[in-house]
């Protein structure tokens, strides 16, 4: 599904303001996998999200989605921004659904799955809370049946109830949908991913499967660092 090979990204490359956000990132994510991407502030998480979502082309290496450059897969990729208002380009909830040409009933189903009812359809986006806006944007992405969802800090700024509704909706997605969640709060986001990838200073430093295993591995022994050392121990 996702194939990153030696991906690097330099903001304002070739200018005096050039700053490296990603370096030498190799990552494979299979169809239907749920991956958390974490790391400290400035570690390149959000840049990685933009690259995965295909809105930004890497300045080095290759970012492929289903074998094609991620930038060519915009229609099959859904991207939920932390500042969600910047991606809802319609004045009302109903208009947001129409903007994507989504069937109205299908859009309603998505809204219902996120805890809304029909009364939400005529509501103005700017009269809604951040949590509601984010759920509306997510409903749009769900209704578009994207095969890849990239969620950038989806739980940031939400109250407990909104967090629960959003996580439930993501969990209820078809098993074939790949979900990559950028988060700095692993604990709150734990249900959104069965694999955690850590970034630090733009480099992928850890890749841990956190799924309670159906095979015989435990959390610890499926952990690998970037050198391929298993369980965090040098081989």
């Amino acid at each position: 599904m996702i194939e990153l090979r030696n991906v690097g990204y330099v903001h304002d490359d070739g200018t005096p303001w050039a700053s490296r956000a990603l370096e030498g990132v190799d990552l494979d994510v299979g169809a239907g996998e749920r991956v958390l991407v974490t790391g400290p502030n400035g570690s390149g998480k959000s840049t990685l999200a933009w690259v995965l979502a295909g809105h930004v082309a890497p300045t080095e290496g290759r970012a492929l989605v289903d074998g094609k450059p991620a930038t060519d897969a915009l229609t099959k990729t859904g991207f939920l921004l932390q500042h969600t208002r910047l991606q809802i380009l319609a004045p009302t909830v109903l208009a947001e659904g129409e903007r994507y040409g989504i069937d109205k009933d299908w859009f309603r189903q998505s809204l219902f799955s996120l805890g809304f009812d029909d009364s939400i359809l005529p509501r103005k986006i700017d009269e809604m809370s951040l949590g509601q806006q984010r759920r509306v944007a997510l409903a749009g992405l769900l209704a578009r049946s994207c095969s890849l969802l990239v969620l950038d800090e989806p739980l940031a700024g939400l109250d407990r109830k909104s967090v629960g509704q959003l996580i439930d909706a993501v969990e209820a997605l078809p098993k074939s949908t790949t979900v990559v969640t950028i988060t700095h709060d692993i604990e709150a986001s734990a249900r959104l991913g069965s694999r955690t990838v850590s970034l630090d200073e733009g480099r992928l430093v850890n890749d841990v499967s956190t799924v309670a295993s159906t095979d015989e591995h435990t959390d610890a022994d499926t952990s690998t660092d970037v050198n391929g050392n298993v369980g965090g121990q040098p081989s």
Binding site: T15, L74, T77, L81, H83, R85, Q87, L89, A90, R99
Partner: protein, 253 residues
Amino acid sequence: MSRLHLLRFVDRPSVLHRAGARSKVLVLIGLVFALSFNPGWPSVGIVWATVVVGIVIGRLGFGVVPRPPNALLLAIGFSLVFGLLSGGEPFVQFGSSEIGLGGILLQLRLFGLTLGLLGLTLLMGWTTRAADLPVAASWIMKPLRAVGIPTGEVVAALTLAVRALPLVADEFATVARMARSEPPGRSPIDKGMAVVSTATVATVRRATEFGQSIEARGPIVVNEQSPRWNVSDAVVLVAGMALVAAVALAPGP
């Protein structure tokens, strides 16, 4: 090439960087004033040469020069076509027909002047810390207080604008990127309107947040203590006066 960013500082050891913001603003005002009286081709040439020499003297490197947005290039292209259609002197013979270049030359001069002035503004931004601009504005506007103009409010507004500009520009870019992920079918005008209205909402939200933080933390106080004049200021002011004189005395349009 970079994206178009106004007021983006590049830290370099140069005479342009050492000169205070007020010297550069004064030169810019002088040049704009002179150009408004004499916007001929030689003046356009002087402005462009100033930008190029400024990039060299400021040790900025030509990587600072932004790539013009596609929309701007498209607008210029359309405008030049209409300029060509409008004809006018001088005429050139093209096969059996005569084509008037007056309109297109006028358009080219207009764009040359506009982009040159944008270049001068960018040059000031590359060599001046944004935080120094309100102090410079406060100093320059001091005489206006005598006639009752509330310069404090103007400077406070300028301070906020300078702080908000990069954030708002980033949000505009984000909205435009998100619009690109829409499936085809929606008219470009509808899409453009949606981008503008969403970006406006984002700007208003940003302004509201600023307002709330000012309410919580008290009014903006601009340090009115301007830095001392230095040798670099003198160099910039003398060179600036020479440029203003050159523009004013250059052959007219």
